[in-house]
Symmetry: C2
Subunit: 454 residues, 2 copies
């Protein structure tokens, strides 16, 4: 870690120690001993800030809680990790979790009817309304990850033995959500370009009907899949689902929060997004949005009555198990939200930079892109068997030579040791960073005499 | 907010702005423009630190992301909120979320077999083993809140129409977890001291058997309930459950993380705890632990196979939907864990301080404690109808006068406006703070001529 980054963390940690003093003191202020401790900490803080400014000083803190390394991948490196890119917190989200990290921090002003999405201070109720609007649906709830959104829907709609249409590139959490509800996944095949089409979806629905005698109870398709991040025929699929009167869940884990998503226009009955994947939020977090039509079912409130006490908890929603994100997770979503809304409008620039990098990679002889090309997304599966892997074959570090070369130039997030097929995500990199990234790949190729087209 | 606390947050926020600079820069360092921005921010930071030291200066920042207030309840006040006390982050946890707040921050070194509890860097695998040991069970998993632990168990064991034994003081999330699985709650009555006894549990099991012709499929009881925080006959109840060969879930939402819990000794098949309620962690977080006997069922891995692709995601656990807490939530649990382990050993001191405060409250004429007394917990339900409510009857601010008096003395967390029956939690207050708290109550009573015994 550079001294400056090290000292930035040390200054943050020293301030958290100061907060600890306030927390252990009386509301009336410090006593003499606390004041002395405060002065000592301030003096240390000043030294840390001086070192931070000058870029000097040895590390004073290297572990958190005695065992955890300080994670500085985002400060020290350019991180191209396939699933981390769009979940990085915004600066405002980082501030929010400083202020709202404590357990039930959302609950200071929880009043009747005692439900998370009704809290007005902080503005959680408004945020829910904004979220619904953001994806153009009627209702939105926050959930502990997209998977918990899938689960709420499968729990509502899928019975034992029921079929659910998913894509041949469906994420494993969709499999599990269906399995957990007792259903069975039925995969729509890809076309020769690795795209799920509306026609193939219709054919699969017909095939399931012929095979089982029953229509599938849900169609759940990823707009962009997790393998290639190819764009699938989501609006057409929504139309097909509705022709069969089957509810359609739009999986926006790779879209909600990075590009504009209009649920109604797509024809979605449910829109699911991921906070930690695409909304710059602390994990686990996500959004489950739906139409008026499905809210009474999927957001049904409890009907359970205590047999003895006759207690009822009428407003609590069964599939959500009541409140969902009661603290820092939600506040990080809320604090990132203005930036997240704004950044979806700049999606075109993100895609352009993604293509800029991929074009440069393709100039390195033997490199291929396995995702659809030109790219419509920032996540891409590449094949460097014909380029960087040719070096790995004879290098004593095997594929790790490539990781070494990348990390020594400040790039991390590739799958360490992988030089054949692997994934990367350029989301959030600015113009200079994407240029630098492309230059690094060229430089490594040239170092190992892999031909690079100019 | 006092100037010092305000400036502490401002310094933290300014450092987060600096981090933002590092994140947007190249790994090779700042360019001239960035360096200038850095210098400017450092100069501001120095001024903030100078103000922090002197306790001077006007607020420069009052909102996060334009709308969120800075939450300073824990620094500025003594917070006696019933559910917040033991979920406050430790200083190490606050450091951890600074370093690991970003989305999928746990996943830097995720390798085969690609499951959260197998990750060794950071030491998530070891943490899981430690967690199981901590509650003396064979297996532990982290979950997004205790409620998601209940859900995993009811999802495994409860079928449509099955009965589940709960307490007449069961938390609503237990109701929902049973309802979500299609089951029906059957409440064990309380004795005249508001305690759930082993005998009453046995009788209820018999009654359910007589009524439905089937034994209940699960007994799920809170060690300390959320209403009175009375201690229920948990070991005896475990024994009864086993006599009927019914699995027993120990709800430790109010115990795991604050007092020693020995699952095997209690006879628990499942132990569930809450991270944000009792383990000083970011919400939503919690633990689900179990015996070897139930692990194959409750932690069953997916059996779903893609009908077309034949894909299998074999190691992913169905009830957990794969990975659960992929970032700051988990890291806050891990960073707090050494302190949490240590603090459970000091539970006797916490209970002593709880009783100290309650004894002082009871000296205020007309005050009652509705929880069992002497207290065995730090959460207590009190009845001040005969004391503080007598003032509310004629005060123009009604019950809010009491909140005003408390907050003007630096106490928050009571239910605003409530002066009859309400709950408070003294967990985590040190000797000076508990003394101060008791003095404040006495002072308010005296101000309003409520007799106080000396």
């Amino acid at each position: 870690m550079t001294a400056r980054i090290q000292k930035t963390f040390e200054a943050l940690f020293q301030l958290e120690e100061l907060r600890g003093l306030f927390r252990a003191s009386l509301p009336t202020g410090f006593d003499a001993g606390e004041e002395e401790e405060f002065r000592k900490r301030i003096a240390e803080l000043k030294q840390i800030v001086a070192d931070l400014e000058a870029g000097t000083g040895n590390p004073r803190v290297t572990k958190i809680a005695g065992t955890l390394d300080i994670r500085c991948r985002e400060e020290e490196y350019i991180n191209i990790h396939p699933i981390q890119a769009a979940g990085r917190l915004t600066t405002e989200a980082r501030k929010a979790i400083i202020a709202y990290g404590d357990g039930y921090s959302t609950c200071d002003a929880c009043r009747k009817p005692f439900r998370l999405d009704k809290i007005s201070k902080p503005g959680i109720a408004d945020f829910h309304a904004d979220l619904a609007k953001f994806v153009n649906m009627d209702h939105a709830r926050v959930v502990p990850g997209a998977r918990r959104g899938f689960q709420a829907v499968t729990g509502t709609l899928v019975g034992r033995g029921d079929s659910v249409i998913v894509s041949a590139l469906a994420h494993y959490t969709e499999f599990l959500a269906v399995e957990n509800a007792g259903g069975v996944v039925k995969e729509v095949p890809l076309n020769d370009k690795n795209i799920v089409t509306a026609d193939a979806t219709a054919q699969k629905i017909e095939a399931v009907k012929a095979e089982t005698g029953k229509l599938p109870v849900l169609v759940m398709i990823d707009h962009f899949d997790y393998q290639f991040a190819n764009e699938h025929e989501i609006a057409g699929i929504g139309k097909v689902a509705h022709q069969y009167d089957i509810p359609f869940l739009y999986n926006g884990a790779y879209t909600v929060g990075v590009m504009p998503v209009d649920g109604k226009k797509i024809g979605a009955d449910f829109v699911v997004g991921s906070g930690h994947k695409s909304m710059a939020s602390v994990a686990p977090s996500g959004v489950l949005a739906m139409t008026d039509e499905y809210a009474p079912e999927a957001l049904r409130t409890t009907a359970m009555v205590g047999d003895l006490t006759k207690r009822k908890f009428g407003i609590k929603e069964v599939e959500l198990l009541g409140c969902t994100l009661m603290g820092g997770t939600l506040l990080s979503m809320m604090a990132s939200f203005p930036a997240v809304k704004a950044r979806t409008l700049a999606w075109g620039d993100e895609v352009r930079r993604s293509n800029f990098f991929i074009d440069r990679l393709l100039k390195i002889s033997g490199s291929k892109v396995l995702s659809e090309y030109p790219r419509k997304h920032t996540l891409t599966k590449v094949d460097t068997t014909g380029s960087f892997d040719t070096v790995a074959k004879t290098h004593k570090r095997k594929g790790f030579y490539f990781s070494d070369e990348l990390s020594s130039r400040g790039i991390v997030g590739e799958f360490a040791g992988a030089t054949r097929t692997w994934k990367l995500n350029t989301y959030g990199l600015n113009e200079r960073q994407i240029q630098y990234l492309a230059d690094v790949f060229t430089e490594i190729a040239e170092k190992y005499q892999i031909p690079v087209m100019r």
